[in-house]
Symmetry: C2
Subunit: 474 residues, 2 copies
Amino acid sequence: MFDKETYINRRKQLQQKVNKGIVLLLGNQQSSMSYKDNWYPFRQDSSFLYFCGIDLADLILVIDIDNDREILFGNDATIDDVVWQGPLPALFELAEQSGIAQSEKLSRLKSYLQSARPSTVHYLPPYRPEHYDIIGDLLEIPHLQVESKKSVALIKAIVSLRSIKSEAEIAEIEAAVNITNQMQLAALSSAKAGDTEAHIAGQLQSIAIAGGGNLSFPTILTTRGETLHIHYTNNPIVPGKMLLCDCGAETERHYAGDLTRTFPVDQAFTQVQKEVYEIVLNAQQAAAAALKPGELYRNVHLLACEKLVDGLKQIGLMKGDSHEAVLNNAHTLFFQCGLGHMLGLDIHDMENLGEQYVGYDETITKSKEFGLKSLRLAKALEPGFVLTVEPGLYFIPALIDIWKAENKHISFINYDKLDQFRSFGGIRIEEDFVITETGARVLGETLPKGVSEIESFRKDILQTTPLIVPASRI
Amino acid sequence: MFDKETYINRRKQLQQKVNKGIVLLLGNQQSSMSYKDNWYPFRQDSSFLYFCGIDLADLILVIDIDNDREILFGNDATIDDVVWQGPLPALFELAEQSGIAQSEKLSRLKSYLQSARPSTVHYLPPYRPEHYDIIGDLLEIPHLQVESKKSVALIKAIVSLRSIKSEAEIAEIEAAVNITNQMQLAALSSAKAGDTEAHIAGQLQSIAIAGGGNLSFPTILTTRGETLHIHYTNNPIVPGKMLLCDCGAETERHYAGDLTRTFPVDQAFTQVQKEVYEIVLNAQQAAAAALKPGELYRNVHLLACEKLVDGLKQIGLMKGDSHEAVLNNAHTLFFQCGLGHMLGLDIHDMENLGEQYVGYDETITKSKEFGLKSLRLAKALEPGFVLTVEPGLYFIPALIDIWKAENKHISFINYDKLDQFRSFGGIRIEEDFVITETGARVLGETLPKGVSEIESFRKDILQTTPLIVPASRI
């Protein structure tokens, strides 16, 4: 937790912005795996964390603006809870720690809402099935209406607060990035042909856990880097390929880091891997250099796309005018997603509040076209935004086949030349930035990024350490 | 997956046992963490795995007994799915791999059920919130009735099949136990004063992941071993305490292992730790020796309880007749839970089907009393059962205070002597067994268990390796 004053102040700002009614902030419940009491690691709702910092299940925070009252609803532990889960602070103590004046049994929440007769009950969009049950029951509305009755006023208020990170939050995100850095170094240090992706992925998770929190998202560690959100397999890593490692830790306070490196399984990239890598690196650096307050992130995205096309033209995969190619979305055969996203308490920060409010605003609406529809952030940047920059080039056989059969964008794409790239895989390079008053600052300690840096790091490692085989396979 | 014939045969047996109607076997969905698309690692439903082995989300298997038809309902991947998640087998291929003749779009399931007009639609008890939604919608029954309309015939049929493990299943569980063994050895090898529990817990998870699966349940690794299901903290481990490590891996096929060791943070147990440890060990060995077909597991549990009381009398914490003390539940101040549980595709195998069917039967019903109400398995053992034996002694200050204030069982408990045990913690020793035709066989390779074995293992480690500090704290 941050200090009590932080939470009191955040709630005061929220009250001012929402102005009237009752705000209902749902904490999360435990999530069951293969039976009710076998739980996934608990993950608190991020907005609930932002406004009170309490990292326990089954709590609901009510901010009754009309009556200027804050109440934490929950249940005290029974002796059975103590036996199985250990001593826990009393509900009133939890409330006290966050500067919430009142606490009440959860069973009294429904009658409180009924008797308060608020002008509006504001709540956030549900994203877990149980949210529908809880809200539907409390407000006596059918499940199917729960989503549509969410409060846009509350969403906008929270997005305006959570988007601008405080110094303390930036420090916390940077701590997460530095743990993520250690994870990347572990991957760069230990990945070898014959080892499994799963073995390395396990090591990365152990570093995230040792850092005090856990993973901020399931690790992507794959020689099939062309698949954007693939995870890892138990198959031995084969030489000649590249490993794409996209991973992140979250701190004990649940702020996230998110970094990607792509590197050769062997000591060095092949010539063609190196050429494609340099294209992505050039786009990543150009995009990073363009970050500044007032700049539309969509334009930074489009700049990166043009740089990718410039490079693809040089190696003969694309042709024609780069700007025209991007306007026509021809580049989306190779770069199907967006350049980056907000980062904070969530890895895609505030994604549950709706991208149209987090990444877009009144002046800029989300495209429905392939490629741009996956751009999570497009609006003008402001000091205090924290975001990722992560261009990539992905050679997806199924997509190439579809486009080629349709002769799609044949004036921009050299399909004949593409055949030799069918098993190339994918490359992504990702860093995290905070927008400053004048530009942007990359977060975290340095990590090998250039071709020669990566190759010399890998060379040192592979020449000095023996092949590592998972303990379970010895 | 096991081979196709295995699944075909299991479904045939299920058809014979259930006899009529339609069996609806729900596969699981992805579970969201802090927003919809940030998923926990996917965990398939265990009964779904048992009957078709397909480890992917959003599938429902229909076994239409009335019409002798099996259909896998699901959806084929879109090109967007391929871009983000990679190529997947077509639905008909998945069905084919499991020997299921037919496959259909998920959207056609509801009309199939309506047009088939079955005598009964059998489904298992829901344990995730979305199960209520899916079943409620398919069968047009209110959420509140979904639980009560579950099929006891289906539950009993599945319990009778899943309870008796085949040779292949026993081999798979033993593989899980052996990965768990590696985890225990890692804890025994690396735990040191000054390190954090989280750092060690991370290492254990990395071994589970390298083994091809993941954890079978969240690791319990704590110096506060008196709390039965506590996890781990980020605080440095202090000398003088014991670490209780209760952990398990599940294999790629999702069969689980589950082992507990308790060992000193230092090279050796203190004298009092050693005395209490020997009591638990004696109870564990007596219980293990009593395992055989026909024996009520409740009696094995009660035998272990008596052995615990015998030992507690020797160190002056209890008094009176051991048998009487156990009959009166006086031992539950120190051993609040059951001796063990079934083990298989779930860590508490089939717990979602209901303990009254899995661990009890017509001849033996579950007690409501503190202690016995937590005994998950009580009925007569049969060859092929796989189960844990895990007695312990737990000194819970909050519970001691309540009992002492009530003068509860003062004819059996020496409360005065107990004061010096308030910060003792807890000890548990756990192994996994398969019931054979004549007795039982412990699963997995050997692992230090006796006091001298543990102490000599720890002594070797602590004298040869330097203090390990988590990478993120350097």
